[in-house]
Symmetry: C2
């Protein structure tokens, strides 16, 4: 029986039009999950050279795959629910029952499409998702309620549904000489975050913007009056207010929440400069205690979400804060969708083995500036640094070439950080301004 793989982005209800322009390119990460016989629903036709590259590396039979894409032309409304797309998908399935539905962003539209194909029950957690569950499983606000309800350590702060509550929290933290990070409820990769500080020299990672305030009171009111609409997407959402910990490390543990088992997918470190730039899987040099805290907390969140009816990927994000005493692990958000790391450890397992983390590091970078995908491939071949199954090391291109700003994301598979760094130096870089 075929699987149905759906390359959708988070709905407008969560992130508005953020990322919409690049959706077709972005959704191609779905290809790393293909298996023989899959039916893929994608917002745009995939780049054939990238599709060939992936199927070759993963020993998948390209001819066994069916790709369904919407009819050309901008149409209003949720593309997944376009009746013509449903019709095309039904044709592609040709009466075969769907074994499993796997979507980048599981939500009510995915369930609705599956239902119209008679495959509702093939969507993991379909009951929960069908009734708006994506707004729970992706919310940084709900995350804080559940994490605090489970006794997990969180950065000092709260969830604000109105500017007065935000003012009280921000003022309390700033007046105590602690910088503050504000987070939009649903945005990803640091793009919905802003840091507020009273001092000029703060080094910030993990936020798109840093705002210098003249004082901890009136300037906070001025800031909130100016930014409340942006922070809440026009008052639709809540705002997370937290103490910001400069110099902390961002780590994650990602799981698959199944009916019976909660399985670790992978763990790693995210490095933001100032927003998502690269990541290491597994996170280098975690102490046993740090890793244990990350795993215990991550599994606890999975158990809560499972009790709520969620099934699928759940990534628990945390920061490691070096304090006066023992470094502490504070949880910062969760993501109930296919994250920017899911395809990385997935391909890591397919290429370097399910237990890659024992002797290999995956170093994922968002941008290699190259003139084209073909040129990138040629360079890897000529340098002899393309991924080699024999040595279980080398460079993997993670997606097709993105014309603006002319980059390809990639993953270095190496023995450790130093070996990955050496590999990275052998990538040809376009001269940058």
């Amino acid at each position: 029986m075929p699987r149905l793989l759906i390359g959708n982005r988070p709905s407008n209800d969560l992130v508005g039009t953020w990322g919409k322009a690049a959706m077709g390119w972005w959704a191609q990460r779905l290809l790393w999950f293909v298996r023989d016989g899959d039916v893929l629903v994608l917002p745009e036709a995939p780049d054939e050279s990238f599709l060939s590259y992936v199927t070759e590396l993963t020993s998948t039979d390209r001819a066994s795959l069916t790709v369904v894409i919407p009819a050309a032309g901008n149409r209003p409304g949720q593309w997944l629910l376009d009746p013509e797309l449903t019709h095309l998908t039904r044709q592609a399935l040709a009466g075969r029952p769907v074994d499993e539905v796997f979507a980048l962003c599981p939500n009510e539209a995915v369930v609705e499409l599956a239902r119209s194909l008679g495959a509702e029950s093939a969507v993991p957690g379909h009951g929960f998702l069908d009734q708006g569950g994506a707004l729970i499983a992706d919310s940084k606000a709900v995350f804080r309620s559940l994490a605090a309800g489970s006794g997990l350590p969180l950065p000092d702060g709260g969830v604000c549904a109105n500017p007065e509550g935000a003012y009280r929290l921000i003022t309390r933290l700033l007046a105590d000489n602690r910088p503050v990070i504000l987070k939009k409820e649903f945005l990803a990769a640091g793009n919905g975050n802003e840091v507020l500080t009273l001092t000029k020299d703060l080094r910030v990672n993990g936020a798109g913007r840093t705002v210098l305030l003249g004082d901890a009171h009136d300037a906070v009111r001025v800031y909130l009056n100016e930014r409340w609409d942006w922070l809440t997407e026009g008052r639709r959402h809540r705002v997370i207010v937290e103490e910001y910990h400069p110099g902390s490390r961002g780590v994650f543990a990602e799981f698959w929440v199944g009916d019976e088992e909660i399985e670790l997918g992978g763990q790693g470190e995210m490095v933001a400069e100032p927003v998502a730039d690269h990541s290491y899987l597994p996170a280098p040099d975690l102490t046993a205690e740090q890793e244990r805290a990350l795993m215990v907390g991550g599994r606890k969140l999975c158990e809560v979400l499972r009790a709520m009816g969620y099934r699928g990927v759940l990534s628990a994000d945390a920061i490691i804060v070096e304090g006066a005493g023992t470094p502490e692990v504070f949880f910062t958000e969760y993501n109930g969708l296919v994250t920017g790391s899911t395809h990385v450890y997935h391909l890591g397992k397919r290429l370097a083995g399910a237990d890659y983390a024992r002797d290999r590091l995956l170093a994922e970078y968002v941008s290699w500036h190259v003139p084209s995908f073909a040129e990138a491939l040629r360079h890897l071949e000529s340098e002899g640094i393309a991924y080699d199954p024999a040595t279980r090391t080398g460079v993997v291109l993670l997606n097709s070439w993105r014309d603006n700003p002319g980059v390809v994301p990639y993953c270095l598979i190496a023995e450790n950080v130093e070996a990955a760094e050496r590999l990275k130096e052998r990538l040809k870089q376009d001269p940058r301004p």
Copy 2:
């Protein structure tokens, strides 16, 4: 050690200014929970004659109670967080540690007040509540996600974050000759509900307004364009869209979610004409199967909420729909706060015994039109129908006299519905227009 009882209403974040004008009167239901030595925080001074009435009936020592009320005058902001109120409450506690905090509407303001008194851990579920949990435990949208995620039966429908999704759902139901009920995410007692119908003769209970649409398509768009802002409280919240079942019975089962135990508080039936008018505890004539379905589903929701970190009252509401075959129990919402029934079964237990439901019925009515509280009391005495501990029957006044519209809510304690009806006929009614 004293308990701290807090007579607050749902925050503006949930219900806006709905009910705010009558808050002082409304909050007096808190008095039914008092025990000797309690410190009560109320938005306005309670009616002394009602307070005397309650303490006498419940054998509570009035002199052992301390009532804290905010300083006079309208002040902006959340009254519970007024520093002067905190100061007064601290004085009332006089250094005694707080044994338990019990609030009508447990939320982040309750936790913040408790924290400033050094009593945060005395708030059940304080971690969850402190991080915005009230927006989860009171949400009809989150309810649907969790109930569907647990496999509970729900009326056909969904949770809509945008008008397009609402349009699709409404149109599907109406085109199938099924009327539709729309519900605001947080409002109570049917006040945030509207029913949409294509036929004139629909008899509606449980909604403040019924809207007759000319067709199932264009008229739905016109309706949503007109009402979306109202339905979503200015786009802040989601909207629940469900099939409306005319003639269904509204029932509930209410529990206390504790660390260890989930305890049944009471169950009953709510009768709306068209919004909340009266209720019976327990619900008369439930079949064993109906009661079982209500209890199993209600307990399941409690378990999910407990896993999420919630502690306190949880009421599960359902409708019983008589169909062609067996009547079905569909769950419709939950409420993680002290509901309009909590004080009723609480006083029922205090007056008629913990097992009152074995041989007594509580019939609660929202309005007895009388000139004053004193006049109501006099009438009960002269008719000999005031509650009598000897017979475990009679009339209990549930709150003080409300000047607009000149009513007192009351509870009949009787052997059964017929006996309650006979008691009700002996209440003197003001002539109504």
